[in-house]
Amino acid sequence: MSITTIFTRPLSFFRSSSRSRAKAESVAAPVLDFPNAPPDIRILVRQRQYAHIVRPQDGLQFDDESLKYAWKAIDHDMAYVPGGAVILQGEYATTTADGLSLIPQTLGTSDVESLFIDRWCVTNADYKRFVDEGGYDDVNLWPEQILTTVLQFVDQTQQPGPAGWAKGSPIVGTEAQPVTGVSWYEANAYAQWTGKRLPTSAEWQRAATWSLSSSDSLQECRYPWGNSFDPGFANTWASGRHQVASIHDFPKGNTPDGVRQLVGNVWEWINTQYMLAATEEVSMHATDPMAEIRGGAYDSYFHSHTTCQSRSADTLTARKPNIGFRCCFSATGLEPPDTSN
C-alpha cells in the first residue's frame, strides 16, 4: 500500500493487513526491522523511535527514503485516528442518603485533533530496549523534581526497571505482554524516548470509539467492538484468566481499524490529571497527584467500569501489576512522502 493512501484513502489504511499479520505472529513481541534501511534509521525503527523521523524535534530533516521507512513502521505499529468530538464522562462526590457517594455526570464535549496511536500497549520487549539504552539514567527524560524518586523505580533485584522484573529483564515468556509495574513518570519517559507521548483522556476515548460511532451524532459505542460486553473480547475478570495476556490475544476486541485491547488486559496511563468535582461540603484528601487510567484490566470486576467512557485513576508513582500504557503522537501537520516513483 502506498504511503500516500494514509491520507487519500484513509479507510484502506484502517483496513491494513495488520490484523491478518497478527494471526501469523507467534507469541513473541512484534519485531520491526528493515534490513535495507540506512543503519541509523534501522536502529530508530527497531527501537520504535520512528516518530523522531517524521516529527523531528531538533530541526533535523530526514531524506525521503528514511521517511518512507518511518511511515512503513507507523503503518505497522500505529492506527490513524481522525479528529472529532467525544463526550467525556466523570463523576462528582457528594453526600447522599447512603453517605458520601460518587454521582456520574457528563463533563462535556471535547474536540480531539487527528493522531496516530499505538495499535497495542508497549510490551516488555519494547520497554527492555529503553532500559538497556539507559533510559533511567537519561536526566532529560525525567522531571527534575522527581529525580530522587527515579532512583526508587527499580525491579525486584534493585536494578532500574519495572517493579515485576528481575535483573533488568522481564520474566521469560512475557516479552509480548504489555509492560506493567511502571509509574506514570516511567510511561512518560518511555514515550518521550520514542518521540511520542501518552494520549489525553479525550484522545484515548476517540481512538476507542470513533470507528463505530455515528458521524452525525455524538453517540459513542460503549466498547471498541460495539455496545454489548463479551468476556471473549476483552481480558477482564469475566474472561477468567486473572493475569496479563499477550498483546496478540483477544483479537475479537480490536477496534475495526486494528487497535488492540483498549478495553481489558491492563489499565492504561493517560496524560490527564484526575480531577474529581465535589459539592461544597465535600473535600478530597489526596496526598499525591493522580492521573487518569483507562480501559480496565484483567482483574477489573465490573465491566461497567471498563467501558470506553469510564475512567479511574491512580497516583503518579503507583507501579501496579495491572497498569501499562500505549503512546501516540499528533497527526496534525504531517505530510506523507511522495512514494509514487
Binding site: W237, E281, S283, S304, S312
Partner: protein
C-alpha cells in the same frame, strides 16, 4: 382431570433453630431465642445436611459485609476450584446489596446492630481442587462489628453470636490493615479478646489435647490495597504488628493461616462538612477474597 394444588407447609411442623436448637413453629419468622431468621433454618432443613458454619468475624469497619458479599458473588461466578450456589433467594440479599453498591462505586451501608436485621447466607460450595470433590453447606451471618464487640464485653448480649461461634468450624477473622498498621496494639488486643472468646465458647480448654478439635482460623488483613506491607507478606505483617495474637494463635489454634485481601483497585479519601472521613472506590479488583475460604473449607 385432576387439579394440582399448592401444598402449603404444614403449620404444625416444628423445626429446631439451626443456630441455637430452640424449637420454632412454621409460622415463626425468627428464632425467639437468638433471632436467627427462620428461612435459614428451613433452607438447611430442606437440604437435610449438617451445616458447615464458617463465620466472618472482626471489629467494626473491618470490611466484613463487603468481604462476605463479594465472596458470595465470586463463588457464584465460579472461582478456579470453588463454585457456590446460593440456597434460597434470601442468600442473595447480601450479595445484591454489596454488588450494587460496589458497582456504583460506594461501600454498602453499615450492618445494623439489631440481630434480626442481619443478612444471612446459605451457599452450597463445591471444592474441586482435590481428586475427591468436597461439598459443604456454607452458612454465615453478616455480623455487626459492634455486636461482636458488645458480646465480647458482655457475653450473652447477642445469643446469635454466641451460638454461632460455638458451632463454627472455621473462622475468617478480618482485620483492617491500616488500623493494624497504625493502631496495632488496640487491634491486637481485640483479636486476642475474640480468640479467647472463641476458645471459651467452644470449650477448647477442656478438650483432650490428643485430638485436634479446634476450629480453623484464617486471619485476613482487609483493605490491603492501601497497605502494601500487608499485601506483600501478611504473615510477617501480623508478627510485626499483632505479636500477642500471633502468639495466641500459635498456642491455641494449631490450624491457623494468615491472608491479605482487598476489593478496591484505587480509591479516593473524602470528608464531609462534619469531618467524617470516607474512602470511595474508583474501581473494583478483588484480590485474595477466595483463598481464605478455600483454606477454611480444606482445614475444617
Amino acid at each position: 382431570m385432576t387439579t394440582e394444588t399448592y401444598d402449603p407447609q404444614s403449620t404444625d411442623e416444628i423445626i429446631l433453630c439451626v443456630c441455637c436448637n430452640a424449637q420454632m413453629d412454621a409460622s415463626d419468622d425468627f428464632c425467639e431465642v437468638c433471632h436467627t431468621p427462620a428461612e435459614i433454618t428451613r433452607s438447611i432443613a430442606k437440604r437435610n445436611v449438617c451445616p458447615h458454619f464458617i463465620s466472618v468475624v472482626g471489629p467494626s469497619n473491618a470490611g466484613k459485609t463487603v468481604y462476605l458479599g463479594l465472596l458470595l458473588d465470586v463463588l457464584c461466578g465460579g472461582a478456579r476450584f470453588l463454585k457456590g450456589v446460593p440456597n434460597g433467594a434470601f442468600s442473595l440479599r447480601l450479595q445484591e446489596q454489596v454488588v450494587a453498591a460496589l458497582e456504583d462505586r460506594r461501600f454498602p451501608e453499615k450492618t445494623p446492630n439489631e440481630s434480626d436485621l442481619w443478612k444471612w447466607l446459605h451457599c452450597v460450595v463445591t471444592d474441586s481442587s482435590k481428586r475427591k470433590v468436597k461439598q459443604v453447606d456454607f452458612v454465615a451471618p453478616d455480623f455487626a462489628g459492634e455486636a461482636i464487640a458488645m458480646e465480647l464485653e458482655h457475653p450473652g448480649t447477642y445469643p446469635a453470636v454466641s451460638h454461632i461461634v460455638e458451632r463454627t468450624a472455621a473462622f475468617l477473622l478480618l482485620c483492617d490493615s491500616i488500623e493494624v498498621r497504625d493502631n496495632g496494639a488496640r487491634e491486637d488486643l481485640f483479636a486476642m479478646k475474640l480468640g479467647s472468646y472463641i476458645s471459651q465458647q467452644q470449650g477448647l480448654s477442656h478438650l483432650d489435647k490428643s485430638q485436634d478439635l479446634t476450629p480453623a482460623v484464617a486471619v485476613v488483613f482487609t483493605k490491603s490495597d492501601t497497605c502494601p506491607e500487608a499485601e506483600a507478606n501478611p504473615k510477617r505483617f501480623m508478627e510485626n504488628n499483632m505479636p500477642r495474637f500471633t502468639d495466641y494463635c500459635e498456642q491455641n489454634f494449631p490450624r491457623h493461616e494468615v491472608f491479605s485481601a482487598s476489593v478496591v483497585g484505587s480509591s479516593v479519601l473524602m470528608s464531609n462538612s462534619s469531618g467524617a472521613m470516607s474512602r470511595l472506590p474508583l474501581h473494583i479488583q478483588p484480590r485474595g477474597v477466595i483463598e481464605p475460604l478455600h483454606w477454611a473449607i480444606q482445614n475444617s
